[in-house]
Each structure stands twice: as structure tokens, then as C-alpha cells.
């Protein structure tokens, strides 16, 4: 039973980290390799504010705000000039951004690993398993965010616009949608999601400037597997989370890492369009 809960948590973490990458790739066709660097900025902001006596929730909010602002700056200074360019270019440019951010953090805060205390402690007993409250909180937050996003995409006018831009950008522009503005907001939203992921995962991790960088490759592959649909993302995260948890639990964690990557490679070969919910 413990494995099931571990898998649920693992899926949630993958979702949390990949959702920002997902919106940016889906709406802008840009691979944001600076995603985990944004997460690192968020977690250092959180660290800074908790260090100055703010409580955790305020600091986390501030972390998200800082990252959002940073996203807007990066969009304005760099990403804006890359629209319509080949995907290789965006990979290189955002990689450069991530080098800059990580090193700025190292210079400003030092490279020593530190950590930040979780705001919730203790566990509850459920189905014979002790579950940490903070982890339950993360799973619940992720579920809420994904549900809210699904609802927005499906039912709101903004969601309609998003879907139009996703499926056919020139057509959307043709019917008078300011697709440039949509993309700008998308990048900023992606950064905000990175901020959320960074601040939420912060208390569960050792914090150094290369925070979460080990997650970049696997989340990137997950997002490619998603086929640019939220349902696909859900599928992909479940697949990756299951592979990760099962191979860790019954094999060893190195194999698990390799298996997550292999899953993506095989899935993308068999279904180049990604894991899309079958439509009727």
C-alpha cells in the first residue's frame, strides 16, 4: 500500500514540475531549459524571506512573485526575440539563461547546500500507512492546480483562446486574437508555475543553486510525451511516476531513473503525437 502512496506523490511531483514547461511548450513551441533555474530562484527567494523572519506561506508567495517577475523580464529581454525561430535556438538561448541564473544564485548566496523548514509537520494514519501531512498538502495542491487548469481550458473564454492558439496559431491570429500577448502571458505563467514548484518542493530538498536540475531531462521528456494536452500530461506523469516508484521499490533507483527515460523514448517512438486521450 505504501508503494501506491509513494507513486501518487511521485506523480504529483512530476506534474508540479512539468506543468510550467508544458504550458510554454504547448502554447509557444519553446523548450524552456531555464525552467529548473526558475525553480531555484523561487526557492532561494523563499529561503531569503524565511531567513528574514517571514513565515513560510508569505515567503512562498514572495518566491512565486519573484519568479513571475523574472519570467516577465526574461520574456521581454530574450524570449520575445525567439518567436518563430527554430526549436534549437530556443534550447540554446534558454540554456544560456539557466547558466546565468544558476551562477548568479551561486555568487549571491554561495554554493553551500542549505534547506528550509517545512511549514507542516506530523503525519496521519491512513489505510495502515503513515502519511506525512506536508506531502498530502503537495498532492492536494497539485490536484487543485491541475483541476483548475482543466476547468479553465474547458469552460472559460480564456481557455477557448488558449485552445485556439494551441491548435492553430495563424488562424487564431486571423480571427483577431492577440496571439503575441497570449504567448507573453504564457511564458510568465510558465515561470509562475516554476515558482510554485520551487517553493513547494523547497522544504523537501537540499537547496543549492543547481536545485532540481536533475529533474530537467525527465520532465522535458514527459512534456514531449504529453502531446500538448493536459490529459496527455496526466498520462505521461502517471507513466513516469509509476516507472520511477516501481523500479525504485523493487529494483534500484538508478534503474528507475533510466527506466523513466526509456519509457519516454519508447512512447514517443510508438506515438509521436504523444499520449492523447482517444477522441470519439
Amino acid at each position: 500500500m505504501g508503494v501506491v502512496f509513494d507513486a501518487i506523490f511521485s506523480v504529483s511531483v512530476f506534474l508540479l514540475v512539468s506543468i510550467g514547461l508544458f504550458v510554454i511548450l504547448g502554447l509557444m513551441n519553446i523548450v524552456n531549459l531555464a525552467h529548473t533555474a526558475f525553480m531555484a530562484v523561487a526557492v532561494y527567494a523563499e529561503l531569503y524571506f524565511t531567513g528574514h523572519g517571514w513565515n513560510f506561506w508569505l515567503s512562498a508567495a514572495a518566491g512565486v512573485a519573484v519568479t513571475t517577475l523574472l519570467g516577465a523580464i526574461v520574456e521581454f529581454a530574450i524570449v520575445r526575440r525567439l518567436y518563430g525561430r527554430h526549436i534549437d535556438d530556443t534550447i540554446l538561448a534558454t540554456w544560456g539563461v539557466s547558466l546565468i541564473l544558476v551562477q548568479v544564485l551561486a555568487i549571491a548566496f554561495g554554493s553551500t547546500t542549505t534547506s528550509v523548514a517545512p511549514p507542516l509537520s506530523g503525519s496521519v494514519k491512513f489505510l495502515g500507512e503513515l502519511l506525512s501531512i506536508y506531502r498530502i498538502f503537495i498532492v492536494a495542491t497539485v490536484a487543485t492546480v491541475v483541476a483548475a487548469m482543466a476547468a479553465v481550458i474547458r469552460f472559460s473564454k480564456a481557455g477557448l483562446i488558449v485552445r485556439m492558439v494551441m491548435t492553430n496559431e495563424p488562424l487564431a491570429r486571423g480571427v483577431g486574437i492577440n496571439t503575441g500577448m497570449v504567448q507573453r502571458l504564457t511564458f510568465v505563467a510558465g515561470a509562475a508555475f516554476a515558482g510554485l514548484a520551487g517553493t513547494l518542493l523547497g522544504p523537501t530538498q537540499g537547496i543549492s543553486p543547481s536545485f532540481a536540475s536533475s529533474l530537467l531531462a525527465s520532465t522535458f521528456l514527459i512534456v514531449l510525451m504529453s502531446g500538448r494536452r493536459l490529459s496527455g500530461l496526466l498520462f505521461a506523469c502517471v507513466a513516469a511516476g509509476l516507472a520511477q516508484t516501481l523500479f525504485s521499490a523493487y529494483g534500484n533507483p538508478v534503474i528507475a531513473n533510466v527506466m523513466v527515460i526509456c519509457t519516454a523514448v519508447v512512447v514517443l517512438r510508438l506515438k509521436p503525437e504523444g499520449l492523447i486521450w482517444p477522441r470519439h
Binding site: G96, L99, Q103, N257, V265
Partner: protein
């Protein structure tokens, strides 16, 4: 020869080569041990960089895991020259020269073989263009953790070390690596400037079109990917023999990205640019990183962003162009260095009186997803005839051509080609069909934006045979009618113009010239007169008659019924995915059925024939 030497490209190449040789000499001149060593090491990186440029810059394959091949070459040398304990401790290191050479050879072969397997898996049909990037990234990302799982061969976390080849002094290493770099550079320059190099650029520019010229694109990509890997493996082996250390990060994504930075800075698709860029970054980088250890990777990131955003072509090419202009003066014009040479008219087979079929189509059904486009086409296309397919918009004319030139499409029904033996169409790939002498001209010109007119025609004349990997053809042998098409469409004086600059009408002419230059037996022309003036149209009509007279079967999709009436031997009317009528132009013009179809009042129950 003198004229050729004066061409700007050659000057650029000479200047850069001089810079490269100059860089190779400076180390020895300075005599500084550290600079000598640093250069020797940069040379091995430069080999890796130009091998990546071949794959990424020339063939356009997005390669995010090039470090893997470098690592394999290095690991082979490390593994074969050390003895290692079960848990990865290095017990003894070093071997004789033969072992190093053997190990390097094994590394190169292994890298090439693995790349061929990866390429076979990643380039085969059904995978998207970007898939290879995913595989490369995944392999590099997986290789790093996997490395420590085999300590018996890899030395685990700490890697293998201490196995540097002792037979060379620093200066000798310098000359050895410089020599290898120069050889590889020369080899690649010859390769990319050859006719085969053209083919690579064509694949990069427009992969689908290359298929329709009869080339097996997958095989080309696998070959280049594997060649790139072999050269990177060579670089890795050289590096390992020189440095005597190999560990997991050599395989990792970080190193792969660094290689991409070298290429991007030097200028993609220039070979010399990445070589010089890598060496410059190696020298400058070591100095800057020593002076600013903390800020160095900040600079690197900043430089990368600036280059990608503002200097798309890399930093070196603009500088080199500036130098070239300074040397030659501006206003120097690229001069024509390729020309068409019309071959003798092949003996015209008298038109077969019995008019046997070239293509038999019966009961052909095809749908795009849920949209049924062809609903039971029955048609016989005769050898040597000029058949026009007419019909209202949406009748399935272009789709019919699409299906007839791509047997891998998922269609139902019987289609057979009877050029010589009877060949079933089902499952035959585009390039196989094209090589059998069945080619098509696209409705919307589908060209290679970065290539010149002459280069387009040159590629087409190979008709799917791999062009020479070292020769650079100047006189392009074409059938006489190609020259006529060029003259008629105004291409003759513009052979050195880049396709991206051509107007629509001229591009149409080029499309047609390419189709004919392959010396086809059947040619499908999708609206060759679209966008042409009445005068041009008449010329094209005459050319098509000439084609048909030379024994080529011409199948034409056309809207202009007057034009059709003037040139066609037979006309087939397609409506709602079925052939309504086939017959002589005059007969069709009087058909009620056809008139009805065009007016939209036709009743389906009248049947197909």
C-alpha cells in the same frame, strides 16, 4: 581556375584555413608548454565540434547527445589500457602504442555502429523529425547515471585514470592532434562541398522533397549520423589517450550542450567556423575562467544568449565575411560556377500503337482520417500519352497524385505500375517509386530555400543515386528539354540564384525542370501553369508536348480546360473521388456528364463510366 580562386567562398575558405593553420603553428612558436597542451586539447574538442556541425549544421539533425559518441571513444581507450578491480579501482594503467591504436579503432567503430542502430531506430518512418533530439537527450541523460553501474569497465564514479599514452611529449601530442584535426577538417570540407554535401543541405532544407527526388533520406541521415559519431568517437579516443582520464561527465548532457555552444558560436554549417570557434573558446575560456572563476559560467551563459538572439549565424562568419570584403573590396560578385550541359536526345521510342498501360488503377479508395477523398477510382494511364486529369475543386486530383507517388499511404484497391515488369504499388516508399522513374512536380513549389537553381537541377539529375562524396560537379548533364524549360521559364541566366529569392512563376519552372531532369518515364505535373501568364502558358504547353513526344508519360492536373483541349492526348474527369469519363479532349468537352459535374448538378447514380 583563376576565376574559381577568386570566388568569395574560396577566399573565405582560404582565409579560415590559414587562420586554422596559423593557430596550429602558434603553439609551437610560443613554445609555452601550457598553451601547447591547451591547444592540443582544444584540437580534440574541435574535431568533436566539426563532427557535430556536419550532423547538426549541414544535415539539420537536431543532435542533443553528441557527447555520447565522444565518451564511447574515450571509454574504449580507457577501458582497454587499464586493468580495473571488480569495484572500479584502477589497478594498473598504460599500454603499448598498438593497444592505443586498436582501442581508438574499436572506439570509432563502436560509436559508428551504435549511432547507426540509434539512427535506424530514430530516423525510420513514423518517427517525427524532432525524435532524434529526444533520443539523443535521453541517451546522454541516461548514460551518466548508467556509467557508474559498470565499474568493472568504467571505473564507476571516479572513472578511469592514469592511462595517458606516454610515448608522446607535449609537443608531439600537439602535432598529432593538429594533424588529425586538419585531416578531419579537410575531409569534411571536401565532403560538404561535394555533390553529396548538396544532398545534405537539401535534406536539411526540405526532407520530403528529397524523397520525391528518389533519395532514401533515412539512409542518408543514418550514414551522416553515424559518420558524425565515428568522428566524435575519434576525438574522444584522441582526448583520452592524451589526457589519460575518462569519467561519466564525458557522456553527459552538459558536455553535449557545450559542444552545441562551440558550433553555435563558430557558425552552424561552416565546418571551419566551429573548428576555429572551439579553439578560440578553449584558449580564451581558460584565461577568462582563471581570471574570473566565479563569473566565468555567467559570461558563457550571457554570450550564448547574445549569440543566439543577435548573431544567428555565429560570431565568426560575420567577422570572416568582413575580412574577406576588406581583402577583396566590396562589390565583388559571386560568379557563375555551374552550368547546364544538354545531353544528346535519347532515341525516341516510337509511340506504342497498341498503347499498353503504364499504370493500372482499379477500385482505389483513400481517406484523410474521416474525410473520404478517393472513392473507387478506376483508370488506365497509357505509356507515352499526355493525360490530363480535370475536375472541380475537391474532386481528389492532387490526392490521386499524392497516392500514386507514395505507396506507403494507407489506401485500398489495386494499383500497378507496368514499366517493364508489373509492380504492385502497395507499400512502395516515395523514393523507391521515384527511382523507378515516376516523379512529380508539386502544385505549390517545394524547393530547398538555401540552394541555388543549378544545385536543384544537379540533385535532380542523380535520380536517387548517391552523388559523389568528393567531386564537385560544375557541368551538369541534363536532357535537352530541361534546358528548354529553363529558357522558357527564365531560369537560364539565374542558375546561381538562391531558391528563396525566386518568384512564384520561376519557381514553378524550376519545379518542372527538376522533375524532368531526373529523366523520368512517368511524370505527374500538378498544375504546372498555375501563376503563369498566357504567353508562358503556351510555352509550357509546347514543352509538355515535347516531353510526351520523347516517350515520357505525362499526367497533368489542370484547371484550364482550353489549355487541356489543346495539348492532351486524353482527358480523365475526376469528380467526388471517382473518374466520370475518360476520352479524347473533344469528346470530353461535349460530355453532358462533365458539364454537369462542373455545374454541380450531376447525379451520382449515373455511375463511374
Amino acid at each position: 581556375m583563376a576565376a574559381a580562386l577568386a570566388s568569395r567562398r574560396t577566399v573565405l575558405a582560404c582565409l579560415s584555413a590559414a587562420a586554422l593553420v596559423g593557430a596550429a603553428m602558434t603553439g609551437a612558436l610560443i613554445g609555452d608548454a601550457y598553451v601547447t597542451m591547451l591547444l592540443a586539447q582544444s584540437f580534440t574538442y574541435a574535431i568533436a565540434a566539426i563532427s557535430l556541425d556536419l550532423v547538426w549544421g549541414y544535415a539539420g539533425i537536431p543532435e542533443l547527445g553528441h557527447s555520447l559518441w565522444f565518451g564511447i571513444g574515450a571509454l574504449c581507450v580507457g577501458s582497454m589500457t587499464t586493468s580495473v578491480s571488480e569495484t572500479g579501482g584502477v589497478l594498473a594503467a598504460g599500454a603499448d602504442a598498438t593497444t592505443y591504436i586498436l582501442a581508438a579503432a574499436v572506439g570509432v567503430v563502436l560509436a559508428a555502429a551504435m549511432a547507426a542502430i540509434v539512427g535506424w531506430y530514430a530516423f525510420s518512418r513514423g518517427a517525427t523529425h524532432f525524435y532524434i533530439a529526444v533520443v539523443g537527450l535521453a541517451l546522454a541523460a541516461a548514460a551518466q547515471p548508467a556509467y557508474s553501474q559498470f565499474p568493472r569497465y568504467t571505473g564507476g564514479e571516479g572513472g578511469l585514470f592514469g592511462f595517458a599514452y606516454e610515448g608522446f611529449s607535449n609537443a608531439e601530442w600537439y602535432y598529432v592532434s593538429a594533424a588529425v584535426l586538419l585531416c578531419v577538417t579537410a575531409f569534411l570540407i571536401v565532403l560538404v562541398r561535394s555533390d553529396f554535401g548538396l544532398l545534405l543541405r537539401a535534406v536539411r532544407d526540405n526532407e520530403r522533397r528529397v524523397r520525391y527526388l528518389g533519395f532514401n533520406v533515412e539512409r542518408i541521415k543514418i550514414a551522416i549520423y553515424s559518420l558524425g559519431a565515428a568522428l566524435a568517437g575519434l576525438a574522444g579516443a584522441l582526448y583520452a589517450a592524451m589526457e589519460g582520464a575518462v569519467s561519466a561527465p564525458l557522456f553527459g548532457t552538459l558536455f553535449a550542450t557545450e559542444m552545441m555552444v562551440w558550433v553555435a558560436v563558430g557558425g552552424r554549417g561552416t565546418i571551419l567556423g566551429p573548428a576555429i570557434g572551439t579553439i578560440a573558446l578553449g584558449l580564451g575560456g581558460s584565461k577568462l575562467s582563471a581570471a574570473f572563476p566565479l563569473e566565468w559560467s555567467l559570461f558563457l551563459g550571457l554570450a550564448l544568449v547574445l549569440i543566439v538572439v543577435f548573431f544567428q549565424a555565429g560570431v565568426l562568419p560575420p567577422i570572416a565575411r568582413g575580412l574577406a570584403r576588406a581583402v577583396l573590396g566590396s562589390g565583388h560578385k559571386a560568379e557563375q560556377n555551374r552550368s547546364l550541359v544538354a545531353g544528346r536526345e535519347t532515341a525516341v521510342p516510337a509511340r506504342d500503337a497498341s498503347a499498353s498501360a503504364a499504370i493500372e488503377i482499379s477500385g482505389l479508395f483513400f481517406a484523410y482520417g474521416g474525410l473520404r477523398v478517393l472513392r473507387g477510382v478506376n483508370l488506365e494511364i497509357l505509356k507515352g500519352e499526355l493525360l490530363c486529369i480535370v475536375g472541380p475543386n475537391g474532386a481528389g486530383k492532387s490526392t490521386l497524385i499524392e497516392v500514386l507517388t507514395d505507396g506507403a499511404r494507407n489506401f485500398a484497391g489495386q494499383v500497378a505500375f507496368l514499366l517493364g515488369d508489373r509492380v504492385e504499388h502497395q507499400g512502395r516508399q516515395q523514393d523507391v517509386i521515384a527511382r523507378s522513374g515516376v516523379v512529380r512536380k508539386f502544385q505549390v513549389p517545394s524547393l530547398f530555400p538555401s540552394m541555388t537553381v543549378a544545385e536543384h537541377i544537379l540533385l535532380a539529375t542523380s535520380n536517387g543515386r548517391w552523388p559523389s562524396v568528393w567531386r564537385r560537379t560544375h557541368a551538369i548533364g541534363v536532357p535537352p528539354v530541361v534546358e528548354a524549360i529553363c529558357a522558357a521559364s527564365g531560369l537560364t541566366g539565374r542558375l546561381e540564384e538562391v531558391a528563396a529569392d525566386l518568384s512564384h512563376g520561376v519557381a514553378q519552372g524550376l519545379e518542372m525542370a527538376m522533375a524532368v531532369a531526373t529523366r523520368p518515364r512517368i511524370v505527374f505535373m500538378d498544375e504546372p501553369t498555375a501563376g503563369l501568364s498566357a504567353v508562358e502558358r503556351a510555352v509550357v504547353g509546347d514543352l509538355l508536348r515535347v516531353l510526351a513526344k520523347s516517350g515520357i508519360t505525362v499526367v497533368l492536373v489542370e484547371h484550364d480546360l482550353d489549355f487541356v483541349e489543346r495539348i492532351a492526348d486524353r482527358v480523365a474527369v475526376l469528380h467526388e473521388g471517382r473518374v466520370l469519363e475518360v476520352g479524347a479532349p473533344s469528346q470530353i468537352a461535349q460530355s453532358d456528364v462533365v458539364r454537369g459535374a462542373y455545374l454541380g448538378s450531376f447525379e451520382l447514380e449515373k455511375g463511374d463510366h
